[in-house]
Subunit: 349 residues, 4 copies
């Protein structure tokens, strides 16, 4: 799924041989391992633009159910997340989730709303709470053009598919930078037991934050690994979306979402004051089928969530390619060979 | 300022002779009594549409200052308020505040952002947190047309003025209903001393909520006062904006905003589960000029805020005229003569 | 249940003939109408002391269940509520709730914990989250003596009973003042349908806040009704506990608790900055028996909660007797005859 | 400062030669590097008991000032933190902070209150918000005896001193376990510039949480490093206190406190569901002397806070000694020699 670049073939963390930790990776090691989750991207790469939309689509909202249990964690609220207060009040997600570029977030939300209102499920709808996250891709994209709109929204939603997920410089990650490197979209998953039932938790992230990368604890500072200046995001941020099929309710998913934010520290985030760091967690489990699980059953879900989020964050960097933006600004891909060498030296692989 | 209707001249609460309570009303008894606050409206009344935009514009944000101290209270988060998390994280308001119709909120936010980015103050801006509130005017307006856009946003912003404020069926209040009657926009203000300094607090509201109206404690149920069926809002809500020139910081303004939400109960709100009840409070006082005041100085500000909000809520109903929406739905103006009679009988006037 | 005072027989709101509003009162019009709720008081009235403890005891926690779904609303956090963060995190109440005097709250919590650890249900317990609220009865009691302790805690818990509930100057209300009058403990209940099932919601309050009393909207200012100076609470506050048997979860009960705080405005609270205004709502319904109800079913529960809380607040004042504290400070009972006259004049009764 | 153990001399992270990162350590590398901060401990080690109290005392509250700006982060609210809601509402700390054992927290709070009321500064005080945190030392101490009381509180407060801080098995850390090892009290500090002024930030922690230890990214799992079974805390938790002399207000300190919780992930915390993970941050800077700093100045303070917290967490483990509790339960000290070997192998030292 990952586009290649001469001399610098992109990989995922698992490809490097880094073990998954306490829980096994899912089949695809992607959020699409969670039943009924589809991912779609629309990317805009042209003169001065590296931007796009990524759609996380739970099939259950395609007419069958009006909402899914959901929780939100606002790690650092310096962002323009659309849909926050209603999601928290009701503990519910009413629509797919879109990720995009900061200054396009409202036109994306408006186009998204138009798209949804045109579907049979919403033929009579007069109120709806679309959820759209963003990070600022202004380092690599002419953000003031606000180029993302209805065409990209429609494409991302219509092309959303199960199966492997494109990562790196794609969709909402086309123009983001993370930890001094080119960042982007990453995903990962874990399989675990929650309250005695086998479940999956998956994460997808849009990385655009500062700090010093660590993989499995091994520091990989951009200042050292790159021959050139590290990329500095304009208004750094991170959007994290976690999906599971565990039988958890909205309040419990708020607790899951908190852990997703905490996991950023595991890969070296510095949670700078201008960063919009948010996690949304939702479950595709239908409460009508039982639940929620006892609170005591949540610790493994918390642990697996953090592992999946950390791997998704790392994957976003490992799979991203060197990208040039306006005015000669460049975010470099992390050099995979150096990563491999350092991880081997540290005994991680 | 209030358009008239044959046989039912609209009034404000003060016109009825209801005293102001512990604090005096400001000169205009409007949020524009707070120095540097301008209000603008754009209204859409045509075939099946009664909707619009209302703009609350603090002059201080016209280039001189980057943000004002601000706080948010989410009384009931069933709404689509744009800008919530960043306002709370930073305790700051970066832009004017717009109010509009639920399904238009994102296109209004997008147009607003475009408007702001085109101003000299934002010539280089790559991140900005516009604040746009909404209530659902779908009872009196074809909300799915999402008719409010850039033209209305520009008009509301450009026409924003000091002086008396149009109330009732205007701007974002064109199509809202409250407490069984036609609601809309209302405003009021109070003058007080905060920490020994004479200050003003003003409120402006967009009313669209259910319950049983009380004025000065006197119940005025729509079921009794109207010959016809009371209006039932589609997704009821209330947006409250409070401005002051008191020397308060973001955290303290959060406390002010809480009181603004509490005040809704004073006029009979029932805070129904589907209601998006929010208050935003901001101060035009420049922290560089001193402050914040000691916490002990806040109680009078809290009391004056509640009085101003309650009067603004009542004014929105008293000044609104009977309005017909799609499919013959009608929201009736409260009959002023009956109000007057009942208030007199209760000894309030 | 109410102790009498010569020439000023105490009454409850219903005794005055004020109708209950949209929902019927429960049999006892008390929180004990909710199945399995018992109330106990321990009062200390002696030289300079008017203080005590009130216990709200859900039978379900006597060994059968480890916790009940619960929510908390912090209307104004100027208080020392014990147990707040864990109740919110887990949406659960693990113990009965005690109310007491500010400076005694920790020794009451400690004694309470000792009491609980000595019960068979907690023979092995090594962590437990007791919930103890407080208001400041320092106007009528020598609060610095911190006179409430294990003896009062044990008495309140052991004497807790179903049936009618003593109100006014009793338990945690022995020394509190409200709205210029002697306040204290009050209770009320409503019967309603939630999601098609007949349910009860009950409230019990400890009133100690400032403002101007309104009953059914009719203003009854202490400055007018009393020949003497109104009482001024030292650090005013209000603790509200709401119980129901509706099938609601912790998040939904947080929404219920919010409404309980909002209801304070309905009786004239001014939410002064130094007030600790909290509401805790819990359900005795066992989630194992189904639920939670759909969000849409909550509006009647919200409305009934506000009605019950408002009536409980009023009852705390109507049933309280003139009380003298240290240094000649006196809080006067509201004169019932004047209340009756004014309510009749306003057509309320 | 650290008591020694034959064959296992305890060290601090700096002693091992691990560099401090972006910011220099303070002179003592302790929270006492922040001007006017004193630390005191009272420890109880006897038959079946390993428990105690740790006091963090800002001199400024000894009569000169009534409160300090403060913020709270509730990472996971499964704890009994006393003083939470008022600290958040007012953004203020009114008293020193005590840390202790879960089931003793209320009697410690009560004794603390008694201690404070007996001081001249509180001769007239009738309301006060003591702040007392706790973690559960029940693995190594007979927690149900609730052995910590007035004697320990007085000792900790009276012995509080500037200068080096005792770490490890002392005070509130006497009986806690962390990351499979014996944990306890740890401290560290960093020197930085905030808004152009040289400032210090210091942290002190009480560690009692689960997870897999990482030092400078190097995994040091108790399962590998110990010949025996790792210790399992009963109800794991972490209390973090951050002090600074930077000119920040309560809201900004809430943002600082959030980062302190995030930092736990940097050393391998798993934030288990039963963990009470809290951070309190306060400033000794007097707002009367100017401030707060601009929001943009906060990122270095955030970064330095996370570094100090991570090092304090690690120090709590490195300095703690093997401790035996009731029923033969043992928490083993981390073997320093193995730590040294592994850090050297990884190139960290």
């Amino acid at each position: 799924m990952t586009p290649s670049q001469p001399g610098n073939p992109r990989v995922r963390l698992g490809d490097l041989g880094v073990p998954s930790g306490m829980f096994a990776r899912g089949t695809l090691n992607a959020i699409t391992d969670v039943p009924g989750i589809r991912i779609g991207h629309a990317s805009l790469h042209d003169d001065g633009l590296n931007t796009g939309v990524t759609a996380i689509v739970p099939d259950a909202l395609d007419g069958r159910r009006r909402s899914l249990p959901a929780g939100l964690s606002v790690g650092n609220g310096y962002g323009k997340l659309v849909g926050a207060t209603q999601l928290q009040e009701l503990g519910a997600l009413e629509t797919p989730i879109l990720l995009t570029s900061t200054l396009s977030v409202f036109r994306v939300a408006d186009a998204f709303l138009g798209h949804l209102l045109a579907t049979p499920a919403h033929a009579e709808t007069t109120t709806l709470n679309p959820v759209v996250g963003e990070t600022n891709d202004g380092f690599l994209s002419d953000i003031r053009r606000r180029a993302v709109g209805a065409a990209q929204v429609d494409h991302a939603l219509r092309s959303a598919a199960t199966g492997p997920v494109a990562e790196g410089c794609v969709g909402a990650g086309a123009g983001t930078v993370a930890l001094g490197y080119k960042g982007g979209i990453g995903t990962a998953s874990r399989v675990l037991h929650v309250g005695g039932t086998r479940r999956t938790v998956g994460a997808i992230v849009q990385t655009n934050f500062s700090g010093t990368l660590r993989i499995a604890g091994v520091p990989l500072p951009a200042e050292e690994l790159l021959a050139q200046d590290p990329a500095a995001p304009v208004g750094n941020s991170c959007m994290i979306v976690v999906a599971t099929d565990a039988a958890v309710d909205g309040r419990q998913l708020g607790r899951v979402a908190n852990r997703a934010v905490f996991a950023m520290r595991g890969v070296g985030a510095d949670y700078a004051q201008g960063s919009g760091d948010y996690a949304i967690a939702f479950s595709v489990h239908d409460p009508a089928d039982g639940g929620p699980v006892a609170e005591e059953a949540l610790s493994p879900l918390f642990a697996a969530t953090m592992d999946a989020v950390e791997e998704a964050l790392v994957n976003s960097v490992l799979t991203a390619q060197t990208t040039e933006g306006p005015e000669g600004r460049i975010a470099h891909a992390i050099p995979i060979d150096v990563v491999r060498t350092r991880l081997a030296a540290a005994g991680v692989i």
